[in-house]
Symmetry: C2
Subunit: 259 residues, 2 copies
């Protein structure tokens, strides 16, 4: 059973995951980060030791969660050496096999959510995608996951990579559309809050309808006058204009191919 955990990383995901585990009584015994300041900041919140030296990582943890950027993962793996450590990473796009030259027992514990440092998230419904190289270890990870979420899934590395890609579209790219909306409204002194009910309904609608069926607006109607007028409004924003044109075409194409 997993009781003592070392968290490697102190970014948004590491922070939120550590807080969730700590709240459910799991022991975070140490937090490692490249800088002692960020390690200490998170360690303080979960009553753990802080370290910025990979050599000083405790060797008696039941699990090591590597919640670092994809870029940093390999160098962390090269820097730590703990015999028989059970290692997991939390990355969407990295295969579980990244661990195979480093330890015998390894897996992935990937919470599918967008994390910002200062926004507390409720883990209880966050999908956690679990994968392991041994069945017994997968079972341990499921047991751990169940303590913080009721939404657990066995997901292969190949599926997880696609999930991460789909998450970039549905989260990061959708959020970028919000950013553009905010920038456009600011130019006309219109409060961005006017868009909040629309944004909320757009996200809620697809719990009931497929996104394809939920689509509305000038592109799916192929309302050329509106599209043209919108493109003209964007003359001073060549990037947004290009994006407007391109996404409108993509919407129209997707819907034409279905009809």
């Amino acid at each position: 059973m997993i009781e003592k955990i070392v968290i490697i990383g102190a970014g948004n995901l590491a922070t939120q995951l550590s807080l969730a585990l700590h709240e459910k009584g799991l022991g975070i015994i140490q937090v490692y980060s490249r800088t002692i300041e960020s390690a200490s900041e998170l360690a303080g919140k979960v009553n753990a030791e802080a370290s910025n030296s990979l050599q000083d990582i405790k060797t008696n943890a039941d699990l090591y969660i590597l919640a670092v950027s994809d870029k940093a993962l390999q160098s962390v793996l090269n820097g730590i050496s703990i015999p028989k450590a059970k290692l997991v990473h939390t990355a969407g796009s990295i295969s579980v096999d990244v661990f195979k030259d480093y330890t015998d027992t390894f897996g992935v514990f990937y919470p599918l959510q967008t994390f910002s440092k200062n926004r507390k998230v409720d883990f209880s419904n966050i999908p956690i995608c679990i994968e392991a190289n041994q069945e017994a270890f997968a079972a341990e990870l499921f047991e751990l996951g169940r303590k913080i979420s009721s939404n657990l899934h066995a997901i292969s590395s190949d599926q997880r990579k696609q999930l991460h890609l789909a998450a970039v579209f549905t989260c990061n790219f959708a959020n970028h559309m919000y950013s553009i909306g905010q920038e456009l409204l600011a130019e006309k002194n219109v409060d961005f809050n006017l868009l909040q009910p629309l944004i909320k309904e757009t996200a809620e609608k697809i719990t009931e309808l497929d996104p394809i069926a939920a689509q509305t607006g000038p592109a799916v109607r192929f309302d050329e006058d509106v599209i043209k007028a919108h493109e003209e409004s964007l003359n001073m924003h060549p990037d947004f204009q290009k994006l407007y044109r391109f996404v409108s075409q993509s919407i129209y194409k997707m819907h034409s191919s279905i009809k």
Copy 2:
């Protein structure tokens, strides 16, 4: 005071707005649509007469709400002739001045929301953007609006056009990102519901943080390895691949210009 209303149009917006007004006790006395079937379908729901002839539109209503597509608006205006009719349209991108050769009292009553025919919406928090060519009529429209929503705003034609444009980005384009996510997951037999908590949190997060501050993911981190891997995964979807590249660049550019 506005009590008797004729609804011109029977699409998604006409349907949801009529239902909301009817529920609050306003009298929808007639519904016009190009086909008698669609006029009757909506008229039946709000206890109104149905018509598919512009010549037969009742002349005794306090308000005529033209909730038709932008393309159809002009031909409806050319087809009706009711002396001293108070006319409003519900369009995002059409100036209030469209009415000025047709009547003396006119305005706009624009509910900023995404409407689908079979998804009931709660009007109580939907922003309604109001504009009129006379102050007294604006006051009447605000009074009417207050019966169905507590979120009313005086918005000029110029601001409304920008709001509509921003709504296309934040609603239609965000929803298209959801459609792409669903299509990508289907290829790997992953349930789209796994993305629902992420989509919900992405939309909720920006009630607390600006979208710019809420952004996460490989583009804002400029994580080239992930971006490259994602682009490769999209080799079979050249359109999505182009979109991925373009939106990632746009995110990176927006954030670089702020730093």
